[in-house]
Amino acid sequence: MSFNEEGPPTTSEMLQRVVVARGQVEDVVIVPVLAVALALVLGGITMLLTGVDVPRIGAAFSALFSGSFGSISALSETLTAATPVTLTALGIALGFRAGLFNIGAEGQMMLGGMAAVAVGFSFPGLPIFIHLPLALLVGALVGAAWAAIAGWLKAATGAHEVITTIMLNLIATQLTGYLLRNPPIQKPGRHDPISQSVLDSAMLPKLLTWLDPNLRLNAGYIIVLLMVALVYWLLFRTTLGFEFRASGLNPFAARYAGMRSGLIIVVVMAISGALAGLAGGVQVLGVLGRASPGFTGGGGFNGIAVALLGRSHPVGVLLAGILFGALEAGGRQMQVSAGVRIDLIAIIQSLIIAFVAAPLLMRAAFPWAFQKKAAVTR
């Protein structure tokens, strides 16, 4: 409220980075960490209330950890599970930064995956260094095109992207079901909805088979790391990212500054969709080898959660993706060795998101972890 009386700082002082404010640390670190801790505790209470005895709860948590980080194989499963969800979350986070809520990552991932499968089984004889990138690229482009529809509808007509992407999700689901039951996608001789198998020349190479042939971690995670770097570069190093962030934080100021909001909306949606389409491609080309109903594993929806938890920052998304991958991998182990159903994991994931989305709740629950907030006065 009062002026800084020590006189103006010099130019060189001015150019030094400021120490990260306590409030930012709270928002970026403390809230997510407490949310995860609280969700795990409530998960334990849920088990207790549903009649799981205390030793088995202990065993469940121990399995949750050993199944996610306890061994090379557990780590491999964690990162494999993290791969698609991190990619969709990157796209969704990019949308958040630009003020767009891309609920449609699920549909974009689905169609991207279908396109990647189609390319993947179609061109026998192509060398892997052409076939694999081509399949991934087509998957990303189809995802981009699908998302751009919602972007264009918003830019041209003002239709809200949440509504249009939900509708596009429904269409994508039905379209996928239809394609899987009909030639040329359907596997010849089968009557259930399942696609032809991707040729080896389009499969992402496994990374750790030299250690153990059963380790599923594949080159998809390298793509994840590349995309994290790419999205970071895009957001914080390019003029396009500057426009995205300005539009997201203050669309009036973006317009004042001469940025073309309609174009930005379409481009953001397209890039977001490309990442979701890539997620679908990586899932079918890295793990599944074919497509069947539900092959996305809800990656588009979990991506929303990961983007929120990662605070829409590429590095945050990377870490949140690993957490979600760990919960999934550990959850399977928990089901096997402690007999606790994997549904508990969905409960824990949902609680984490609820807590992250409600920072005020976290403040009320853990007042000692936060600074007292100054009321805003004018």
Partner: protein
């Protein structure tokens, strides 16, 4: 009823908004409360009207300590507040608005509007307010709406009335009428607090003056002996110069020509109705007018943010009527928008990012694909230096700057390019006295270097001190024009009120 604030301290987290404030409000007296934005005036009055509870100190009414739990307690105690932004239902009548919340009711809870109208007429008559109880609020001029707010607090039997920046929305004539009213209230024995940052007004009407700075009472003044300069120095903490030093006008070629322009607002109403004027190199043209007479839409049409319905804008000889704001920006048009937080800056961006908000695309700051952050940072540091923006670092968030420093950053950004025309809308709204002086000097310096300057302001003082030519806008038209020689407050005020001069 005499009110004493004793040792009032109010903190918000680490910020102390009021620190050990002592203040006495006496019946039959007008207390002028002066202070810049953020000096703690509003917090103090919110404590008095029961909205905030002080962390330390007490409020005494006629010597007895009182404890307000909420605003209702304060109203019951006879403390009323007339807010800067009126709290009236536009489609209701005066009487309906006045009784809202405390409606007189007859048998079976029947709403007794006749009684309400009678009471409103009585109050209006007693204080010479001449307000018709049956008038609809949205059809009344702002000055009359303010009187309805006054009737509202009198109806609730207020003995102490706090006016928060009451003259900000009034024409000069309405201000004069307001002074008559506030004096009559004083003579009727009410205790009055007049919050403002306008020195002239407080000197004219107040009986006592208290000055707040940094949450503390830093001085008291007697309006009979105090001068503008004394008070300003107390407010700002250093001496302030009022008159803008200006060289004689030396105009060149016409830069901006607006021809017969009509512009629609959001509700598709013609808000700018056939406006023509030009701005030449090296002159300051000021557009005066009460807020809401089409100035916002006119500026947006000139800067390319809003399409013109008819008419033409030409800039440097190019027809830019349909051109984008980016095109105009490239040609050398600068724009300080009227609401810096809404559109002039991104408050969650750093100072550096805000420093290139609309010029990031230039070769200096980007390669076309990637940003040249070192160049951006250097530019930001230069603007911060040149325009005296008080910030800890160029990486601080825009949000962490005070209003005056945000505005200096915006003005600095716009003046730091090679520009031909500066369109500045409300360039000093909500800005502290020290920064106003600075911004005015820089605008005049730009004019002296041959830039054409168009200033749109509802502050007549600002227009009078800066402009070489003054145009007055009323209901979308330019109804009068003056040169700096012919300009006088009375004629401009009449034109602002729509009375043909």
């Amino acid at each position: 009823m005499e009110i004493e604030l004793r040792g009032i301290t109010k903190r918000f987290g680490a910020v102390t908004a009021n620190s050990d404030v002592n203040l006495t409000i006496r019946p039959g007296e007008i207390l002028g409360l002066l202070g810049e934005n953020g000096a703690g005036k509003s917090t103090l009055m919110n404590v008095l009207s029961g909205l905030y509870r002080p962390d330390a100190g007490e409020i005494l009414i006629d010597g007895k300590p009182v404890n307000f739990r909420d605003a209702k307690d304060a109203i019951h105690a006879g403390i009323g507040m007339v807010h800067q932004h009126f709290m009236l239902v536009p489609v209701f009548t005066v009487a309906e608005n006045v009784v809202l919340g405390v409606e007189p009711t007859g048998r079976f809870d029947h709403l007794d509007l006749a009684a309400a109208r009678r009471q409103v007429s009585d109050i209006s008559g007693q204080h010479g307010l001449s307000v018709d109880p049956n008038a609809i609020i949205e059809e009344m001029p702002v000055g009359l709406q303010q009187r309805v707010e006054i009737i509202k607090v009198l109806f609730r039997s207020a003995e102490v009335i706090i006016f928060d920046e009451p003259t900000a929305v009034l024409t000069p004539q309405e201000v004069t009428e307001f002074f008559v009213i506030i004096r009559s209230l004083r003579d009727a024995g009410k205790a009055l607090v007049f919050i403002t940052h306008k020195l002239g007004e407080v000197l004219e009407v107040a009986d006592r003056i208290s000055v707040l700075r940094g949450g503390k009472v830093v001085g008291e003044g007697d309006p009979k002996t105090a001068t503008d300069a004394d008070l300003a120095e107390m407010m700002v903490g250093r001496s302030v110069r009022f008159a803008v030093n200006k060289r004689a006008v030396n105009t060149g070629a016409a830069l901006l020509e607006v021809r017969d322009m009509k512009v629609l607002n959001e509700r598709d109403e013609i808000t700018v109705d056939g406006v023509s004027f030009e701005v030449r190199a090296g002159e300051v043209v000021g557009i005066a007018g009460v807020q809401g007479n089409g100035q916002t839409e006119l500026v947006e049409a000139i800067t390319g943010l809003r399409p013109a319905l008819t008419g033409a804008v030409s800039f440097l000889g190019h027809d830019v009527t349909g051109a984008s704001s980016r095109t105009r920006h490239r040609l050398g048009m600068a724009h300080v928008p009227e609401d810096r937080q809404k559109s002039g800056m991104v408050t969650d961006f750093t100072v550096a990012e805000n420093a290139v908000l609309d010029s990031y695309y230039e070769k200096r700051f980007s390669s076309g694909v990637t940003m040249r952050w070192p160049a951006v940072n250097a530019e930001a540091a230069k603007i911060v230096d040149d325009f005296d923006v008080r910030t800890a670092s160029i990486f601080s968030l825009g949000d962490h700057l005070s209003g005056g420093n945000q505005q200096k950053l915006v003005v600095g950004r716009e003046l730091s390019r090679d520009i031909k025309l500066m369109v500045a809308s409300q360039p000093t709204r909500g800005v502290d006295v020290g920064s106003i002086e600075y911004i005015h000097d820089r605008l005049i310096a730009a004019r002296d270097s041959g830039v054409g300057v168009l200033i749109v302001s509802t502050e007549l003082d600002e227009i009078m001190s800066l402009a070489d030519r003054i145009l007055v806008m009323f209901r979308g038209r330019i109804v009068a024009s003056f040169t700096s020689e012919t300009a006088n407050v009375k004629d401009i005020g009449l034109a602002m009120a729509g009375v043909a001069a």
